[in-house]
């Protein structure tokens, strides 16, 4: 019942969107922008319709309506309510509903903005086209309300690895990020069409860019955190193609965020900002394609039929071709004169834009090239962490140096103020600090030294930046985000070089001294969970005078019957102690385990949160500035 209503609602919104597109095209041709409120009402209507069908899908999951194919394939009556709900978007069909819902959500907020009617109408058309394309995809290739007859008594259950509170909220955040760039994309195409790409556009777009960027930052952070504690290999970033797919739009969006600031402040770089707006969304789509089409061999690989992939591929290429053609035809080629010097803020932002695009191209080529090579001549190559690390690292230092320097420069004159002279002192301080640090830790690695030096230098300059302004709130957004970035880089380097991992096999009562850890296997305990049985092992780790109790466990889920290894992580802000049980390899009553010692992991997550906070604060700051 719920399924047929939802299917009907989806079809109505499909018809509504196509008729709105026609209506708007007629209006634009006649240049008649009266009675727009009807149009706004209809576009809100699409959002409401999609929202109701989404709720209906969630409802089918909650009541375990197994006459629905998607529910049958991904749910089970014994699953806790929370995972029944999150299960509705943990599958291909459900996640596409969420995708389209968010597309229409951004349209919904956009129509509430006070913008020139022509520009607004064009934006709505482009956004509606996107909604239409994906609705067709949803209804005809991956319908979430397909019925099965006869109705099965029980569902197949959700993959236990996806039954995790973080993974329940990770996809929505990621989608709010990815899809958020759709409105920037539609908005920039509209601005190009109407030749209204100006500082007003730039200011309005800034809000959406920041919003989507903050969501994406949080989404990536959550995904990384999930991988860290759920997969149980002690890693937080694997350079896996699916992870890269989310990193690419983030890099492009970060570049866009900064170039848009230049556009806003100085009326420059219009075509560059426009191009980045287009590419950020294209990269989001590419990410969707890579994840959803099954073109990848990946940890995440969602097996799908290739025709879905083919449909996404065709539409993506049409979207790319269409948008870039509009860009080429309507590219604003006006150049403005202004007195410019090399040591000027906009110049430094532009330089770092280049570096961001460079990082982006590394990730892009590393992710996509193996696919293309294999298609061309059948050769298979793998590209793993070593490639990315070795090519990105040297340029990262330069990037951080410029990032530290830029904020102290002025927008309109060759800056030579006292702040800049002090930067040299800060640099010397951080050099001394990093040398002392490494001397104490007894490590002579050059790349580690540089990593600590530059991240610490960035850290100091950001603190200095925060105190030189009389009013902190003016630059708080930038300060938080840059501080977060410095923290992340610092944590990555320290973690990369000082993390330890020990493989051991023990039985109850065993005591082992390994490096500086005394590991004691105390006892085991059986627990019964809602839809799994669990055996927990209790360990006591003594590191110097610190004692940490750790309780890794193994779960046997009932449906689908599958074993998972649950990690146990204890942290004292500086270090993480991390235990995971190997799933196979049991012999002589011994279990084989992996013990990880991971320094500064908490700092890493804190850094990500700071970056996102920077973005969120920026959203509010704008309003505050406008009102005064």
């Amino acid at each position: 019942m719920a399924g047929s209503i939802a299917n009907f609602l989806l079809s109505v919104s499909l018809i509504l969107s196509i008729s709105l597109i026609f209506l708007l095209t007629i209006k634009i041709n006649k240049k008649n922008f009266e009675n727009l409120s009807v149009i706004y009402l209809c576009s809100d209507g699409i959002f409401y319709l999609l929202f109701i069908s989404f709720i209906l899908l969630v409802y089918s999951f909650i009541v375990s309506d197994f006459s629905n194919l998607v529910v049958y394939q991904n749910s089970h009556t014994t699953k806790p309510l929370f995972y029944k709900i999150s299960g509705s978007w943990a599958n291909h069909e459900g996640s596409m509903v969420l995708f389209i819902l968010i597309l229409s959500f951004y349209l919904f907020i956009f129509t509430k903005k006070k913008i020139d009617p022509e520009l607004k109408c064009f934006t709505i058309i482009f956004q509606l086209i996107l909604i239409f394309i994906f609705l067709v995809f949803l209804i005809f290739t991956s319908n979430p309300f397909t019925k099965i007859l006869p109705t099965p008594v029980q569902g197949l259950g959700l993959n236990p690895i996806l039954q995790d509170p973080l993974l329940a909220i990770h996809p929505p955040f990621l989608y709010f990020g990815y899809v958020g760039f759709s409105i920037v994309f539609s908005f920039v195409l509209a601005a190009l069409m109407t030749k209204k790409l100006n500082s007003f556009w730039s200011r309005e777009a800034h809000f959406f860019i920041l919003l989507a960027w903050s969501f994406l930052t949080i989404g990536i952070g959550l995904g990384s955190f999930w991988a860290y504690y759920e997969l149980g290999w002690g890693g937080y970033w694997f350079w896996d193609p699916v992870e890269n797919a989310s990193l690419m739009p983030w890099l492009a969006a970060t570049a866009l965020l900064h170039s848009n600031i230049v556009t806003q402040k100085k009326n420059l770089l219009y075509s560059w900002t426009a191009l980045l707006s287009i590419f950020t969304f294209i990269l989001s789509l590419l990410g969707t394609f890579l994840v959803r089409s099954g073109v990848l061999n990946s940890v995440h690989a969602f097996a799908n039929d290739p025709f879905r992939g083919l449909y996404i591929l065709i539409t993506i290429f049409l979207i790319i071709f269409g948008s870039l053609t509009i860009f080429l035809l309507k590219n604003p080629s006006y150049q403005r004169k202004n007195n410019s010097f090399f040591f000027q803020k906009d110049n430094f932002i532009l330089i770092n834009n280049c570096f961001l695009i460079f990082f982006l191209s590394v990730v892009l080529v590393g992710t996509v090239y193996p696919i293309i090579l294999n298609a061309i001549n059948g050769e298979s190559i793998s590209i793993g962490p070593i490639y990315y690390n070795s090519i990105i690292k040297p340029f990262l230092f330069v990037f951080i140096f410029i990032m530290a320097y830029g904020p102290f420069l002025e927008w309109n004159k060759n800056s030579n103020n006292s702040f800049i002279k002090n930067l040299l002192i800060l640099f010397i301080i951080s050099l001394i600090f990093s040398l002392i640090f490494l001397f104490l830790l007894n490590n002579k690695n050059i790349s580690l030294t540089l990593g600590i030096l530059f991240s610490f230098y960035l850290f100091l300059t950001v603190i200095y930046d925060a105190f030189r302004e009389k009013k902190l709130s003016i630059n708080l957004s930038r300060i938080l985000a840059h501080l977060g970035f410095a923290t992340v880089i610092f944590a990555i380097f320290i973690n990369g070089y000082f993390a330890k991992e020990i493989n051991l096999s023990m039985k109850v009562g065993d005591k082992k001294q390994l490096e500086n850890f005394l590991i004691e296997f105390k006892n085991t305990k059986s627990i019964k969970g809602p839809n799994y049985d669990q055996i927990t092992a209790n360990f006591l780790v003594t590191d110097g005078n610190k004692k940490v109790e750790l309780t890794p466990s193994i779960r046997k889920y009932n449906q689908p019957a599958q074993f998972t290894s649950e990690t146990s992580i204890k942290s004292n802000f500086i270090n993480d102690y991390y235990f995971a049980i190997n799933l196979s390899q049991f012999n002589d009553n011994k279990i084989s385990l992996r013990f990880y010692y991971k320094p500064l992991m908490q700092c890493l997550w804190l850094g990500v949160i700071l970056i996102a906070c920077g973005g969120i604060f920026g959203l509010f700051k704008k309003k505050y500035e406008n009102t005064i």
């Binding site: 089409s293 083919l310 591929l313 290429f317 790319i320 080429l328 293309i372 298609a375 298979s380």
Partner: protein
């Protein structure tokens, strides 16, 4: 440059990329390493399945000979359907078939041969799975065709009617 040209160039690049991605999409994504085809049989010494003290040298065995090497195990379900075709090869030709029993319990393997028939002229045990790695195999079942000490063909997964014919043709 004129804008029309730019658009045409853009279009061409996109079409090429589209073709590449489309092909990748429709391609079978199971990875089939063919590195060993055309190379000499690696020098592996295996234990005989029936007599632990007897050794089998792959190089000696395949030298100046046509041998089909089949990696199998009693716990491998596709091996059961494959067995029928191996028996067929044995029946219709004088091809030597060497079975490599991969990570198996001896009693289970004996039962398997009793239940489904024994197509092998000779069986070697690979209890640690090392020999199959030396051969460049990564699962069961896999089949290698060796002619005069050189691997001429390799088949991933169970052999079927078609592969049986290929093997029979290769032996001529």
């Amino acid at each position: 440059m004129k804008i029309q040209y730019k658009i045409v160039i853009l279009f061409v690049i996109l079409v090429l990329l589209f073709l590449a991605f489309g092909r990748a999409l429709l391609k079978d994504k199971t990875y089939q390493p063919t590195e060993m085809v055309g190379k000499k049989v690696p020098n592996i010494i295996l234990n005989d399945f029936n007599n632990k003290n007897k050794k089998i040298s792959l190089v000696n065995l395949t030298n100046n000979n046509f041998v089909v090497i089949n990696i199998w195990s009693s716990w491998c379900i596709p091996c059961k359907e494959e067995n029928y075709f191996l028996l067929k090869i044995k029946k219709n030709s004088k091809i030597n078939i060497l079975g490599i029993n991969y990570k198996d319990q001896h009693t289970n393997a004996l039962k398997f041969l009793k239940d489904f028939g024994n197509p092998f002229n000779l069986i070697a045990s690979d209890t640690l799975g090392e020999a199959s790695i030396q051969l460049g195999a990564y699962g069961v079942p896999e089949t290698f065709v060796v002619k005069n000490g050189i691997i001429v063909a390799k088949f991933l997964g169970p052999i079927n009617e078609e592969i049986t014919d290929t093997i029979l043709n290769l032996s001529k």
